[in-house]
């Protein structure tokens, strides 16, 4: 067995193929768990919003839809780059191409975080931190922004972990003796990345769109 294969192969698996199957299986189960985690957050959001429909719309109008929409585009593009990397690996493209796609994925993830950082700074300037002095007078609006900070914060944390995983894959994932798609970490990373993306797709309308329809 070649050295990179050796370094990736773990007990108790006889070969990388079965290890990859197991890793994929495991990550799917973990993603189910993650969905319930965010499910809990979204439930909290739903309960609060049903209790304060007007305040939630008023508060959501205060969010910055430009940043939010730009970030949605950035994250969707990053998932596209991730899918591209998978395709490239499938068609046995040159490792440099695969790596470029992965690096683009991670870079777009970083861009998302940077934009989010600008947005947070703006929010703070506008007094949208719901503790102490708070810009909006409706009582329910504080709930909205409390959940806004928690949900986007937890999502950003997930994305940071994702960037770490993609970064690791970019640096150590492929190589001359190992196709990326044979690497057990590849599919795990990709699935996780897409989950983080999908969660954003759910968060985006909950956070940015209420109250902007009419």
């Amino acid at each position: 067995m070649s050295a990179p294969v050796q370094s990736l192969l773990r007990e108790p698996w006889p070969d990388l193929a079965s290890q990859r199957e197991a890793a994929t299986f495991g990550i799917w189960i973990f993603l189910a768990s993650e969905l319930l985690f965010f499910g809990g957050l979204i439930l909290a959001y739903a309960v609060c919003r049903i209790g304060h429909p007007h305040a939630f719309m008023a508060a959501a109008r205060e969010t910055d839809i430009v940043y939010g929409t730009a970030n949605t585009a950035v994250l969707l593009t990053s998932s596209f780059a991730m899918a591209l990397a998978a395709q490239a690996s499938e068609r046995e493209a040159r490792p440099i191409v695969i790596r470029a796609c992965l690096a683009a994925t991670a870079a777009l993830g970083c861009a998302f975080l940077a934009i989010k950082g600008f947005e947070y700074a703006d929010d703070l300037r506008k007094g949208l931190w719901p503790a102490g002095d708070f810009a909006l007078p409706e009582p329910g609006a504080r709930l909205f922004f409390a959940l806004y900070w928690v949900m986007t914060g937890v999502h950003a944390l997930h994305l940071t972990i994702g960037i770490g995983l993609v970064g690791r894959l970019t640096i150590r994932g492929g190589g001359p003796h190992l196709r990326l798609r044979d690497n057990p970490q590849a599919e795990v990373t990709a699935l996780y990345w897409h989950l983080v993306d999908v969660i954003w797709i759910i968060l985006y309308p909950l956070i940015y769109l209420p109250g902007r329809a009419g």
């Binding site: 209790g51 429909p53 007007h54 719309m57 007078p137 009582p139 329910g140 209420p210 329809a213 009419g214």
Partner: protein, 351 residues
């Protein structure tokens, strides 16, 4: 409180609960006895090396047998569910004309208030054989109003009303306990419920100096706190009139409907922007932090006293569907809402 195995039973609910408890006790006893004696008999008869014949399981212990006892268990349990739930449903709605007591809990005391005005701390005097409805809220954390002798318990929540009711059957003094852990002196948050014969209660009530009437206090607050500026019949501000409002169903600006009850009035005072009565502008400021819980209770009592003479007209007062904005006299929609949002109507409100 001399009972050793069973607590004193001093309410109609206690009798029901004890009956159900006894039934379950007998049933569980039978099941337990069955399981224990089977285990004991098997353990002796089939102890290792005994001469009892072994061999395969007899044909009767088959799959059908297993399905049979699964079904039997299910039926027994469903029967229990039916019994328990019908007892529960029957006790859900307090009888009309129940005496209404407001309870405010805080760390670590109970404050109770009678409709005629008297207030008590850690005590509650009630007449026997009269249904008593408790409307409860908390000023801080979650508490739970628990009177073991009545077999009633209900959590008391901050920012929300909960209610329960009982009808005491036996004059006496009973424990009032807090059953939801609420901090340091949770265990000392106790009081007593004094059940008196009706005429004694009337005498007790009459002897209280503040037997002034909650509603009258509310009427005073209605003026002194500025409510009357908009909601009084002669006001020029277009705000809902309150006569006949309590107990009716009002249409809201976003198409929902709301029943005007204690919780609704409380919400309307504290979070006026939440439920906006159809046809009104959201101009009412919130009175959060301005009015105390006791004052809201008094205002609520006042608004209730403005309802139709019979007290709770309920559904017949409901607005016809497809509502017209202008409130006809005598059936005006609710309190209403919030401070103006710089011209923009709430998005959910405009079709």
């Amino acid at each position: 409180m001399s009972a050793f195995f069973v607590p004193v039973s001093a309410s109609t609910q206690a009798a029901t609960t004890d009956r159900l408890f006894l039934l379950l006790l007998v049933l569980s006893g039978v099941i337990l006895l069955l399981v224990f004696s089977l285990v004991a008999v098997f353990a002796v008869r089939y102890r290792r090396g005994s001469s009892a014949p072994r061999g395969a399981m007899p044909a009767i212990l088959s799959r059908e047998f297993e399905i049979g006892w699964t079904a039997a268990t299910l039926f027994v349990f469903l029967f229990l569910f039916w019994w328990a739930s019908s007892a529960q449903v029957a006790a859900l709605i307090p009888p009309a004309g129940a005496l209404e007591i407001h309870v405010v809990a805080k760390q670590w005391m109970w404050k109770t208030q009678h409709p005629e005005g008297p207030r008590e701390i850690n005590e509650l005097h009630v007449p026997a054989d009269t249904p008593v409805r408790l409307l409860m809220t908390s000023e801080d954390v979650i508490h739970s109003f628990f009177v073991p002798a009545f077999r009633i318990k209900k959590d008391v929540l901050p920012g929300r009303y909960t209610e329960t009711w009982f009808q005491a059957t036996k004059p006496g003094v009973y424990h009032l306990l807090c059953a939801e852990y609420c901090g340091t002196d949770h265990a000392r948050m106790e009081g007593r419920v004094v059940v008196m014969p009706a005429q004694d209660y009337a005498r007790w009530l009459g002897a209280r100096p503040e037997a002034d009437g909650l509603a009258r206090e509310g009427a005073r607050l209605f003026v002194s706190r500025g409510c009357a500026g908009c909601h009084a019949p002669g006001s020029r501000v277009r705000a809902p009139r309150l006569a006949g409002l309590f107990g009716s169903t009002v249409p809201l600006s976003d198409g929902r409907r709301a029943v005007v009850d204690e919780a609704y009035i409380r919400d309307s005072i504290l979070q006026p922007e939440r439920d906006i009565a159809a046809g009104y502008d959201p101009i009412m400021p919130s009175f959060r932090g301005v009015l105390g819980d006791g004052e809201i209770v008094a205002l609520t009592a006042y608004i209730r006293s403005l309802a139709a003479p019979e007290g709770r007209p309920a559904a017949e007062a409901a607005a016809p569907p497809g509502l017209a904005p202008g409130p006809p006299e005598g059936r005006s929609p609710a309190m209403e809402p919030g401070r103006a949002l710089e011209g923009t109507p709430p998005a959910g409100g405009s079709p």
